[in-house]
């Protein structure tokens, strides 16, 4: 089973949960960081990296002398990557989304193929857990193609569970990953902002037909009285099982800021996450990959 860890709001605690689950997960599993715009799982999981690839997008780079300047490539491009100034065709590879339309319509085969770096993919291990992660190039706006390459690396036929730290939010990067997992854990920050974003995340992922579960993070935060209850009521009304609650403490906040794992803080913390893990396995018990 592939389990995504997602949240509407950024900073709700996805990475904390993914890393904590990894440290208590009872069986063989694979750990994946898909939050490619802000990848942070490595701070907690300390992977040993064996291999790094650069991921590129095939883009039009230039036009050759064969170009008749007919402009059909410009007309099919919806991203403004090809312009026609007077009679001249000019290509702007930075704007390309890689749809391939220009190459398909050019009769003269006059477009030169180049590549644009989208980011990097790393493969390694954390102990006996296989680890994969992606990281977009700073300045690159497109994340879905990198995510598709990253997820394509995962073995299709494997008895091991896969824990995926998803991109935050509910737009294209999050949906790209959500389409490729079997179940989704939504991490909720029970503040008013967190509540609003959680509702949006529920709407987006429920519409994709994914089995969902919720983990409440930073429960009993001082000043946030009533927040936890409101979120639990929403979960109850919408039939989202709550797999666990992670309380707010200054000690935990300090440890997380330094990249330490909560289950390693004390036996109590460990038990809490073991229980959470068992609950998730029960909730998603019937879910198979595919």
């Amino acid at each position: 089973m592939r389990i995504g860890i997602a949240s509407g709001k950024g900073g709700a605690g996805k990475t904390m949960l993914a890393a904590s689950l990894h440290s208590v997960w009872p069986t063989q599993h694979i750990l994946v960081d898909c939050d490619v715009e802000a990848p942070n799982l490595h701070f907690f999981a300390h992977p040993h990296i064996d291999q790094t690839w650069t991921v590129t997008l095939p883009v039009p780079q230039a036009v050759t002398e064969a170009c008749s300047h007919c402009g059909v490539c410009r007309d099919i491009c919806r991203y403004g990557a090809i312009a026609k100034f007077g009679q001249n065709i000019a290509v702007f590879p930075d704007l390309c989304h890689g749809c391939g339309g220009c190459f398909a319509v050019c009769q003269e085969k006059a477009l030169v193929t180049g590549t644009r770096e989208l980011g990097r993919i790393e493969q390694g291990s954390c102990g006996d857990t296989a680890y994969f992660s992606g990281c977009t190039r700073v300045g690159e706006v497109m994340t879905p193609p990198l995510l598709r390459k990253l997820l394509a690396l995962l073995p299709e036929q494997t008895p091991a569970d896969v824990i995926v730290d998803c991109p935050p939010g509910v737009s294209c990067p999050a949906v790209t990953v959500a389409r490729r997992v079997d179940a989704m854990v939504l991490v909720a920050d029970p503040t008013p902002f967190g509540y609003a974003d959680f509702c949006l995340a529920y709407e987006a992922f429920h519409a994709l037909g994914l089995p969902l579960a919720c983990v409440l993070n930073r429960c009993a935060m001082p000043g946030n009285e009533g927040g936890d209850e409101k979120l639990k009521t929403f979960c109850q009304t919408h039939g989202i099982p709550v797999a666990g609650e992670v309380p707010f403490t200054r000690e935990a906040a300090h440890a997380l800021a330094q990249g330490r794992l909560l289950p390693e803080l004390s036996p109590d913390w460990r038990t809490r996450f073991e229980q959470l893990c068992a609950n998730l396995q029960r909730i998603f018990g019937e879910v198979q990959h595919g």
Binding site: K9, G10, G11, A12, E37, A38, N40, F43, V59, Q61, I76, R78, P93, D94, C99, G100, G101, A104, G114, T115, R116, E117, V138, G139, E140, V141, M142, T143, P144, P167, P168, G169, V170, S171, C172, P173, V175, T176, T191, P192, F193, A196, D197, L200, E203, A204, A207, L208, M221, P222, G223, N224, E225, G227, R250, A253, H254, A257, Q258, G259
Partner: protein, 306 residues
């Protein structure tokens, strides 16, 4: 000639650093300012600002491909052309996965049977509203929809036009986390990127990435450290980073239950009596007075394409 319009975009890199809470607090303090929520994916400013919409408009985002069964002859060229793995064959029929369709229109343009429809989709709504802190431009994208970059650009255009007609001198925007498409769109043309950073390993790492994006677009970056007391070592590291990179450090805010407490009551932080209100006000004054100099504008990253 009218004073030039200042555009301040609040960013963070990492989510959940207190970006929106601070934007709302600054909104309460700012004079002659238009407010704008550019975090269109998961907008939250409305929770504090409680806007009264004066104008509501549909946002027609991108187009999405749909195969018209009755015209399709099943040649499969659309599936072969699609670079986004959005078209698949199922029991002899070709289907477009709407969630994966990028809206490039290649299948629509090149289908030999002209069997693909490509209707424009309603992706959300945008609003011009009144709030107790002034006019507010905001939007709501339908969950799971794309084209957030396009919506951000539309909001910025409307905000600029409105600011001009009202004679506002500043546009204060809440940006989105990360470094991708909506962030880049929200930074386009900004005069200051105001980063709310938390002193954690992740917070610093993600801030440095988004600061790199700002450098790429020649936008000066200013910093506020939030919850600085939760990790003093991390705060020290951030302070030396600011000094090294010439990021003006506008101030530091301690961890406080007042932040969730204010949001729970639907108030901006500065509307809640307490010591934080004064801290935030001092920070805002520094931001207002800040005039970026040449050393604040970073050099772009070398090498974009290969």
């Amino acid at each position: 000639m009218a004073e030039l319009l200042r555009e301040i975009v609040v960013i963070s890199g990492k989510g959940g650093t207190g970006k929106t809470s601070l934007t709302c607090a600054f909104a309460a303090l700012a004079k002659n300012t238009l407010l704008c929520d550019l975090d269109v994916d998961v907008p939250d400013m409305h929770i504090i600002l409680k806007p009264t919409p004066r104008r509501e408009e549909p946002f027609m985002g991108g187009n999405k491909a749909r195969i018209q069964e009755e015209l399709c002859e099943g040649c499969g060229s659309c599936r072969d052309l699609c670079q986004f793995e959005a078209i698949r064959e199922q029991d002899g029929h070709f289907l477009v996965d709407q969630a994966l369709c990028e809206g490039c229109g290649v299948c629509y343009s090149l289908c030999p049977q002209k069997a693909i429809a490509f209707p424009e989709a309603l992706c959300g709504h945008w609003f011009i509203s009144d709030t107790r802190f002034g006019p507010f431009v905001h939007a709501q994208l339908k969950p799971g929809e794309e084209n957030s970059g396009k919506l951000v650009s539309l909001l910025k255009k409307e905000a600029r036009a409105l600011a001009k007609s009202l004679g506002a001198t500043t546009i204060l925007c809440d940006g989105s986390p990360g470094t991708g498409c909506p962030v880049v769109s929200s930074l386009a043309g900004a005069s200051l990127a105001l980063a709310v950073v938390e002193p954690s390993l992740s917070g610093q790492h993600d801030f440095q990435r988004v600061a790199g994006v700002c450098a790429h677009f020649h936008i000066p970056v200013g910093v506020i450290i939030n919850r600085y007391d939760l990790n003093p070592e991390g705060t020290e590291a951030l302070e030396s980073l600011c000094q090294k990179e010439n990021y003006p450090l506008f101030g530091k805010i301690p961890f406080s239950g007042d932040i969730p407490k204010a949001s729970q009551q639907g108030l901006a932080l500065t509307e809640l009596p307490g010591p934080l209100a004064g801290t935030v006000e001092t920070i805002w004054q520094k931001i207002v007075q800040f005039q970026p100099q040449a050393q604040h504008i970073l050099r772009p990253m070398p090498g974009k394409t290969s």
